[in-house]
Subunit: 427 residues, 2 copies
């Protein structure tokens, strides 16, 4: 299968190319970007997409989410985290079936494809249901079975995760597995050691909540008898590519340790605000050369999975709280949402930018609507003003998942109906 | 002309009604809401709108904007305020014609109608051009000719404002005039006294930038020899309904003075972040019973005029910076965007909620798209997840300005073309 995108304005996010190139063609062959050039011959191409006056970007990479939780959208307003989990979420989660998680995950995939996300780094339970949903949708994903010591025995969870790894490590070229840990405050050293073993044995990433709020920091210090939480990371994951979700509450000592570890921060500003956690110190992360990618968190705590919403908060928050409007440009934010996400997942040779040879994960934006006009700075217009609805076409692994706003792999109406039905039966 | 909205879910924002009422009809006669009831007879009605499964809200009231500035959208990223004004804005503004401002304002009106704003409180120059645009669009607005002492003589500006008042005070029932002052840091006591005289003589609101950033606070203190800026307000406007845009940098002494003055805050969180000003202390304003309404600011500093974007920031910011997720509910934010805005403009007996007898300014939302589903809490879903594109119909003063996303008073394509042409000729 070959696809030719004709005459687009390309924002490749690749250091080897200009920030924006006008009127270029992109040839996709099978799952790869074969060629980027002016006037590529459209003969012998299976499908031609006219992208005149449209903008093409790499698809967004959401490095922290819980896509099985879409049915919990907007249940958190006015709750503190622990009450929300105990009163709203856990009693319901206990009653969810694998099919419920499949449907809830598929709704999330629909939401992501419609808002331009092509890769998601997930963090939840029922991994086979999540994988089935992601595979049905055609998205790229890293999936896990989150490990923790509370709410049940550890051993069967470890077995479940290792079976998952064995079964899916090479099954789909769009789906990979990592080692998820809920957090150091909910995992014993035994749990963490087992997680380390699996990550080393299969050469996998680790994905963990880290320093989301002050209470968690205190709990980690108590449980592990350390002066700063990063020492636990340093002990167990000094040589493992690790994605840290949140990192809101880092001390100077944490920064000093983290800057020498193979870690990446998944910054989730909307969730951090909504749950009253605080705001991560992005300038200091950047100053310490720590890679910052972006996450939406789940729809319960994070509102939605729309990376445009998240991007809008990233730069604005830092300019505001630091009272410095020159901090973090719109282009910096676009990097966090694309190539930095690829780097976090250790996949930056494959995805995250549009360059010949990389996998074909890209989105086409139509920025012609009046609420974005006139365009003085296209990067600012995308980061601060564009919405998920400006994405008209989403391509993952060379396959078109949405064309002219129509999903091609998911029946929207039936999935909404299914999710409403789950809620009705749970309430 | 009569319009019957059938079978909607009504979020009236009126204290006399339930927060949400399902399957009700709304009868509009001429420019008023005549009746709200179940099963209103549709015979003898000029137009029936089927709003089954749709949500009806009062239109949003944007209490601080500069709608003539749409052509400056996204020119500010990376600039500090003074550099942006001196290097980007002022050199261009000097070359703008009345027709340019008309077109730029009309683009803003299109943006507002498409995103659910029905009333705007504007703050700019070339008031007749702005009025012509607003009148063409059919929106409700309060317009002014901003007064200040810098960049030209005061006297002709005062005359211009008084002529404006005389000419337009009773000309259109959708357009009123107020007394705009740029800020105490750019206005002498003579300017402020003249402004006071006009406001008293014609019984008008005052609209002024106030304590937007630390530098402004310092300048007011120096210029007026006061220990806190609020003392200037107290001296000149103790008996005049005054809308204060921003109020980011208020001291405890300011709060103590402000709580006893007839002032209203127009909170503009996005602009305040983007320009690196900081974040207004909403909990303290609310605790002091100060009315908080919402503003977008202009598209140069505030990104866009979409009140959904602004609403999303309001509550989330306060929960985050105060580390308290129970602060400011989604419903509180909706109040700020509607009835509190009406109160700020001293028009809460006329607009801001949907109740029999009030003027018919309302919007119809379609929340059925998958990125809002499932709906567990409709107020959170509107504030945190809905976008301007969820507004399908906008009605002002009993007149339909947009129906099923199509603008009825503005030709979108020609206005975009006109604004691009202005920019091309200015550069």
């Amino acid at each position: 299968m070959s696809i030719l995108i004709k005459n687009c304005n390309l924002i490749s996010m690749d250091v080897s190319r200009e920030k924006i190139e006008y009127n270029v063609d992109i040839l996709i062959e099978n799952n790869r970007i074969k060629k980027i050039d002016k006037n590529i011959d459209k003969q012998c191409v299976d499908k031609v997409i006219d992208a005149t006056d449209k903008y093409v970007l790499p698809g967004f990479i959401n490095t922290h989410s819980h896509i099985g939780m879409s049915i919990f959208r907007e249940t958190v307003d006015g709750f503190i985290l622990q009450d929300w989990l105990e009163k709203k979420i856990w009693p319901i989660e206990d009653n969810l079936t694998e099919e419920d998680i499949y449907n809830s995950s598929l709704l999330s995939c629909a939401e992501m494809i419609k808002t331009g996300t092509t890769t998601v780094n997930d963090h939840y339970f029922f991994p086979e249901s999540v994988i089935n949903a992601v595979h049905t949708a055609g998205m790229r994903a890293e999936i896990t079975r989150v490990l923790m010591d509370i709410g049940g025995d550890l051993e069967p969870r470890i077995i479940e995760l290792e079976n998952l790894i064995k079964n899916y490590l090479n099954k789909y070229d769009t789906i990979s597995i990592n080692v998820g840990i809920h957090g150091f405050y909910t995992a014993s050293n035994i749990c963490v050691e087992k997680a380390r073993e699996l990550a080393k044995k299969y050469n996998l990433n680790v994905h963990i909540h880290f320093c989301e709020n002050s209470d968690e920091v205190k709990q980690i210090k108590d449980r592990y008898d350390v002066d700063v939480p990063s020492k636990v990371l340093q002990k167990y994951f000094y040589d493992i590519n690790t994605i840290l979700a949140h990192c809101v509450k880092l001390s100077d000592n944490d920064f000093n340790i983290l800057k020498n570890l193979p870690i990446h921060v998944s910054h989730c500003p909307i969730s951090n605000l909504k749950l009253g956690c605080g705001i991560a110190n992005l300038p200091k992360l950047i100053e310490n050369n720590i890679n910052v990618s972006l996450g939406t968190d789940g729809q319960g705590s994070g509102c939605n999975l729309d990376m445009f919403d998240t991007m809008k908060f990233v730069g604005l928050l830092q300019k505001g709280i630091n009272e410095d409007p020159t901090l973090i440009s719109a282009y910096d934010v676009l990097q966090m949402a694309t190539i930095n996400g690829a780097r976090a997942l250790n996949k930056d040779s494959l995805i995250g930018s549009i360059v010949e040879g990389k996998l074909a994960d890209l989105i086409i934006l139509d920025l012609s609507n009046i609420t974005l006009q006139p365009i003085n700075d296209v990067f600012s217009d995308i980061v601060y003003n564009a919405k998920g609805t400006n994405v008209i076409t989403t391509i993952v692994n060379g396959k078109i998942l949405m064309e002219n706003r129509k999903l091609l792999t998911i029946d929207e109406n039936s999935i909404i109906k299914n999710c409403k039905y789950i809620l009705k039966n749970l309430k």
